[in-house]
Symmetry: C2
């Protein structure tokens, strides 16, 4: 790219989205990091989102407050539903109803205000947790919505949803990030991390992450309880 | 319908969405009203949303808090942009970036938790203000997203987005509502209403509404400043 293109990057504070951010910056995008305070179980991932975005050199880091607890229906937004320690069949209770649709919609709104023509999100269809809104067909459908919903579409430009991790294994994601110099010790993936970012080591997200470092042949920098 | 089907209905407190609610109830849906406290200029429409939803007999009325002022970019969510008194060419400054995408996404999340298979929204492509996210092609694209984003889609059921006002003129909308006994004096359409619900009479939304009553041959029950 000769002049820098603006991009909105969803940066949750976890391993995947940190990698997406590092990749977008390496490709030369001017990055605007977006995170959500949606009533999740802990603040550690929001702190990680901010610290990583600053450290990597984003133009801005925005946190949008959004009360998904008003909807509930997930172990991540309803304290009466426990985070499971074993992988279940089908869609797990950690699935937050329509979360990626909501997050992408708000990213779309900010992209439109910024004049950014792309949104980068760390969804993945390989080592994923069985969430329906992480599949490539969902992303393709949302991209169609993005181009019909906004001024960008009316003006004949194109809004693109980038999902650079879609077909990578967790080990491959980790290898990409490490090649770009990313310090995964700063990221928080655990569904029930402590406020200072220590991981439980037993939830689905911790298990996928730990197995990823193992398969990547890399030391696991995660701090556990 | 023999057993009542659940439906999420977006009820902003304005004339259009009140009509949608009255129509959904008349069709026999068990209605769950949803409104958003998104940083709009006044609280009067939220009060109207609650009062209308209760009066018409919704099962529940939920207000989700969501800070769209964090994004800005619209006269409705940014105090530094004035609400215009004259109709402009193109997409007006009262357009809130990606608003209907965001609202439908949250409605989708709630529908999923409730086990509702339809969402009802008062978008309209006739007497509308030039917003890209009010067009039928946008709604069709969002319906595709809704069926890919959620458990409903995975389980082979169908989520439907109902837009009963899409091809009606404002006068026709008013006639439908009046035939269903709706009291439009309770609704607030003005972009800059006072906190007790008095309308300015000069913004786009007031103008469309006033012309609608005139064309419908009905008395305008709106309370102006």
């Amino acid at each position: 790219m000769t002049t820098k293109e603006k991009a909105v990057v969803l940066v949750s504070g976890g391993l995947d989205s940190a990698t997406v951010l590092a990749m977008a910056l390496a490709e030369g995008f001017e990055c605007y990091a977006l995170a959500f305070d949606y009533g999740q179980r802990h603040r550690a991932e929001l702190d990680a989102s901010r610290d990583i975005s600053r450290a990597l050199g984003c133009e801005a880091h925005k946190v949008i407050t959004l009360d998904l607890r008003a909807i509930g229906g997930s172990a991540l937004t309803d304290d009466s539903i426990e985070v499971p320690e074993e992988q279940a069949e089908g869609i797990p209770v950690t699935y937050v109803p329509a979360r990626n649709t909501v997050f992408l919609s708000l990213a779309l709104g900010w992209a439109e205000v910024l004049g950014a023509n792309s949104i980068h999100i760390g969804v993945n269809a390989v080592d994923y947790s069985g969430y329906p809104d992480c599949r490539p067909e969902f992303i393709a459908a949302f991209e169609a919505v993005a181009n019909l919903a906004t001024q960008v579409g009316v003006e004949g430009q194109t809004m693109r949803i980038h999902t650079p991790l879609m077909s990578l294994t967790k080990a491959e994601i980790i290898q990409r990030g490490m090649a770009l110099g990313l310090d995964y010790g700063e990221t928080v993936s655990c569904y029930q991390a402590s406020d200072n970012g220590l991981a439980c080591g037993v939830c689905d997200s911790c298990r996928l992450r730990r197995d990823g470092f193992l398969a990547a042949g890399a030391a696991d920098p995660t701090k556990y309880f």
